[in-house]
C-alpha cells in the first residue's frame, strides 16, 4: 500500500469530519477513512494511478477568490458554507434553482425533487438570489437556472428577463426539455427573454435508456428540443448522467449524435453518477473518470483517446476532464492532448471557465469572435487566390482528389467545435475537503448564500442532506 497523502473527509453515516488516507493498491487509487463510531470506509477514486498522476502533471491554474465572502469561518470546512473567507476559488457558474418540482420521477436524482408548488421561490426571492450573484461573483456573471425542472414555472420567461435586466451576463437553462419540445410558444418566450444556451439532460440515443430511468420514451423529445434550438440559434449542451448497467455503452453513440448536430450542439458534458440524494442504494453503477474515458476511446474506435482529455480548468485536477475537438465530415480532430502538458494560460480558472461557458457553448452566431478567429475571417474574406487551395478544376486529375485544403480547414473550424467534458461530482464516499475548498460551481440559496455544488447536494448514506432543504 503506497500512500499518496492524507485527506480530510466526512463519515458517510454521521457526516462528521474524519481523516483518511489516499493510497495506491494494484495500480488503483483509493480513499480509506475511519469514523470512531461507524468504522472504516473505502472508496475507489481512480482505476489507474498513472492516469491520476498524469492529470496532476497537466493541471496548472491561477486562482482568484470570490469578490465578497458572505459568511464567517466558524466550525471549519464544510460546515461554514456561504461562501466563507477560507474558500479558495471564485464562482465560475452560479446555479439558481427556481423550483423543486419536476415532471419526471427519475430513479436517480441528486436533487430529490418533489411536487409542492407552494415551495417555489417567488419573484422577489429570485431577485435576491440574482443580487447575491452580482455581489459575490466577479464579472462576467454566469448563471444556470436549474431545479427541479425550471420549465414547470409559467413565469420562467419573466425570471430570465429579470436576470438580463439585472445585468447577468450569461444565463443557461438546465432542463429535461419536455415542455420546450411540446410548447413552441413557451419556448419562443424563453428565447426572446434572452436565454444563452440550453443544458439538456440527455442520457442516451435510445428509448431503452430513458425507460430505465424515467419510465418514458424521451429520445424524440430530446431531438425536437435540439431542432427548435437550431431554429432559434440557441446553443445546446447535452448532459448525460453516466452509470454502469445503465448507459455506459452509449457514450460513443451520444458523442457521434452530438457531432452530427454541431454547431447547435456545442458540447457533451458527462456526469458520472454520484451517490447523493435519491439514488439506488447499491454503489455498483459508479464509474470513475478513467473508466469513462476508456469507454469513450473504445466506442469511438480510438478517434477520441484517453490522452485527448486534459484536466478541466476546474477546482482540482480530479474534478473533470475536457477534450476540445473539431468535427470535420464526421471525423474527429481532437485539439487537446495530455502530451502537450498543462494548458498554457495566464487566466485564472474562473475567468477561463466562464469564457468557455459563454463562448464555446453558446449559439454559433452569438459567439464573440476572438482575435484568432477574426484574423482568419479576414484572411478568408480577402480571399486572395494564393491563400486558397488552388482550384482543382484548372489542374490535372492527379490533384482533383484532394479534399479541402488548409483554408477550408480554417473556415470549417469556425463553426465545428465540440467540447466533450465530464465532471466527477463528489459524494460522501469520495469526499475530499481539498477539492470542495477549490470548487467553482456554487448554488445560490434562497436566503442569499453561495454553497459549493458538491456540498449543497451532499447527503449521508441515508439520503439526509448537509445543506439542501436545510434552510
Amino acid at each position: 500500500m503506497d500512500i499518496i497523502n492524507k485527506v480530510e473527509s466526512l463519515c458517510p453515516e454521521c457526516l462528521r469530519k474524519i481523516e483518511g488516507v489516499k493510497y495506491v493498491e494494484d495500480g488503483k487509487v483509493f480513499i480509506k477513512k475511519e469514523c470512531d463510531d461507524h468504522g472504516s470506509f473505502t472508496a475507489l477514486i481512480s482505476n489507474d494511478v498513472d492516469h491520476y498522476r498524469k492529470m496532476e502533471e497537466c493541471f496548472d491554474v491561477d486562482r482568484k477568490r470570490v469578490k465578497a465572502p458572505l459568511t464567517d469561518v466558524d466550525k471549519g470546512c464544510p460546515f461554514d458554507c456561504g461562501i466563507c473567507p477560507s474558500h479558495k476559488q471564485d464562482t465560475c457558474l452560479a446555479v439558481v434553482e427556481v423550483t423543486d418540482r419536476c415532471d419526471l420521477d427519475c430513479t436517480y436524482c441528486f436533487a430529490n425533487s418533489s411536487m409542492d408548488k407552494s415551495l417555489d421561490p417567488d419573484m422577489e426571492t429570485i431577485r435576491k438570489m440574482f443580487e447575491t450573484v452580482k455581489k459575490c461573483q466577479n464579472d462576467p456573471t454566469c448563471i444556470q437556472i436549474s431545479g427541479g425542472e425550471p420549465t414547470l414555472r409559467d413565469d420562467l420567461p419573466e425570471i430570465i428577463k429579470m436576470g438580463r435586466e439585472m445585468g447577468i451576463d450569461h444565463i443557461e437553462l438546465n432542463t429535461n426539455g419536455r415542455r420546450i419540445a411540446k410548447d413552441q410558444e413557451y419556448f419562443d418566450k424563453i428565447a426572446s427573454a434572452g436565454i444563452d444556451s440550453i443544458y439538456l439532460g440527455f442520457d442516451g440515443v435510445s428509448d431503452d435508456v430513458y425507460m430505465q430511468r424515467t419510465g418514458k420514451k424521451l429520445f424524440d423529445v430530446k431531438s425536437e428540443v435540439i431542432n427548435r434550438c437550431e431554429k432559434a440559434d440557441i446553443g445546446v449542451v447535452l448532459v448525460p448522467l453516466v452509470a454502469k448497467n445503465y448507459n455506459l455503452h452509449e457514450t460513443g453513440k451520444i458523442i457521434k449524435f452530438a457531432s452530427n448536430k454541431v454547431p447547435t450542439v456545442r458540447g457533451v458534458h458527462f456526469q458520472p453518477v454520484f451517490y447523493s440524494g435519491r439514488s439506488p442504494s447499491m454503489l455498483e453503477g459508479k464509474i470513475t473518470i478513467v473508466e469513462l474515458l476508456e469507454a469513450i476511446e473504445d466506442q469511438t474506435n480510438g478517434q477520441l483517446k484517453v490522452e485527448n482529455f486534459t484536466p478541466s480548468l476546474m477546482p482540482t485536477a480530479h474534478c473533470g476532464t475536457t477534450c476540445l475537438t473539431l468535427v470535420n465530415n464526421g471525423e474527429f480532430i481532437p485539439l487537446t492532448n495530455t502530451s502537450l502538458g498543462a494548458a498554457k494560460s495566464a487566466f485564472d480558472v474562473a475567468s477561463k471557465t466562464k469564457n468557455s461557458i459563454m463562448g464555446r457553448w453558446k449559439g454559433s452566431e452569438k459567439e464573440k469572435e476572438d482575435d484568432d478567429s477574426s484574423c482568419c475571417g479576414e484572411i478568408i474574406a480577402k480571399g486572395s487566390c494564393c491563400e486558397k487551395q488552388i482550384d482543382v478544376t484548372s489542374l490535372d486529375t492527379s490533384c482533383s482528389n484532394s479534399e479541402g485544403g488548409w483554408a477550408d480547414f480554417i473556415e470549417m473550424s469556425k463553426d465545428n467545435y465540440l467540447t466533450i467534458s465530464m465532471m466527477a461530482f463528489q459524494d460522501v464516499w469520495s469526499y475530499e475537503r481539498e477539492r470542495v475548498e477549490n470548487c467553482c460551481i456554487h448554488v445560490v440559496t434562497e436566503n442569499g448564500k453561495f454553497i459549493p455544488f458538491c456540498n449543497y447536494n451532499l447527503t449521508n448514506c441515508k439520503g439526509e442532506y448537509l445543506y439542501r432543504n436545510t434552510g
Binding site: 473539431l326 464555446r360 486558397k388 484548372s394 490535372d396 492527379s398 480547414f409
Partner: protein
C-alpha cells in the same frame, strides 16, 4: 554582406521573434549555393531555411547598396510532398512568376500536402519541377499560421 531594412521590417523581425543574424545566414547560404527563387522580371529573391520544426523564408532584393530585406515569414507545418504525388504539366504554367535559380527552371504553383499535429491538408506552394524544392508564399504562410493556432487550441 550587410542587410538593409526599413523600420517596418525591423519591427516585423522583432514581432515574429527572428534574429537579424539568422536571417542574414539564410540569405548568405542561398546566395552561395543558389538555392532560391528569383522573380521573373524583378531582382527579388526568396530564400528559405528548413529546420526541424520551422521553415523560415526571407524575401529580399539586391541593389548597388547591398541586400534589402523586404519580408520575413515562417510556418511550423511540415511539407510532405506534392498532393497526388506527381507533378504534371498544367495549362497556365507559363504564367508562373518565379524561377528556381539553381535549376534555372520556371517554378510552378502546385498543391502540396502539409502536416501539423497529426492533421494533413493541402495548400498551394511554389515548386521547382526539377529539384522539387517547395516554397510557400507570405499569404499562404498567414493561412498556415492561423491553422497552426487552431490546432494549438489558442482560441480558449
Amino acid at each position: 554582406m550587410d542587410i538593409n531594412m526599413t523600420e517596418e521590417v525591423q519591427n516585423l523581425l522583432k514581432d515574429e521573434g527572428f534574429k537579424k543574424e539568422e536571417i542574414q545566414e539564410i540569405i548568405e547560404k542561398a546566395e552561395s549555393n543558389g538555392k532560391k527563387l528569383k522573380h521573373k522580371s524583378e531582382d527579388t529573391f526568396i530564400a528559405k531555411d528548413d529546420s526541424e520544426n520551422l521553415t523560415t523564408y526571407a524575401v529580399y532584393t539586391i541593389s548597388g547598396e547591398g541586400i534589402n530585406l523586404n519580408n520575413v515569414y515562417s510556418h511550423k507545418m511540415h511539407i510532405d510532398g506534392l498532393t497526388g504525388g506527381e507533378l504534371h504539366e498544367v495549362e497556365n504554367d507559363d504564367q508562373s512568376e518565379w524561377i528556381c535559380q539553381k535549376c534555372n527552371e520556371t517554378a510552378l504553383e502546385r498543391n502540396v500536402d502539409m502536416s501539423y499535429m497529426g492533421v494533413t491538408r493541402a495548400g498551394p506552394a511554389i515548386v521547382c519541377p526539377k529539384c522539387q524544392e517547395f516554397y510557400v508564399s507570405d499569404g499562404v504562410a498567414k493561412t498556415l499560421k492561423t491553422a497552426e493556432s487552431i490546432l494549438e487550441e489558442k482560441r480558449a
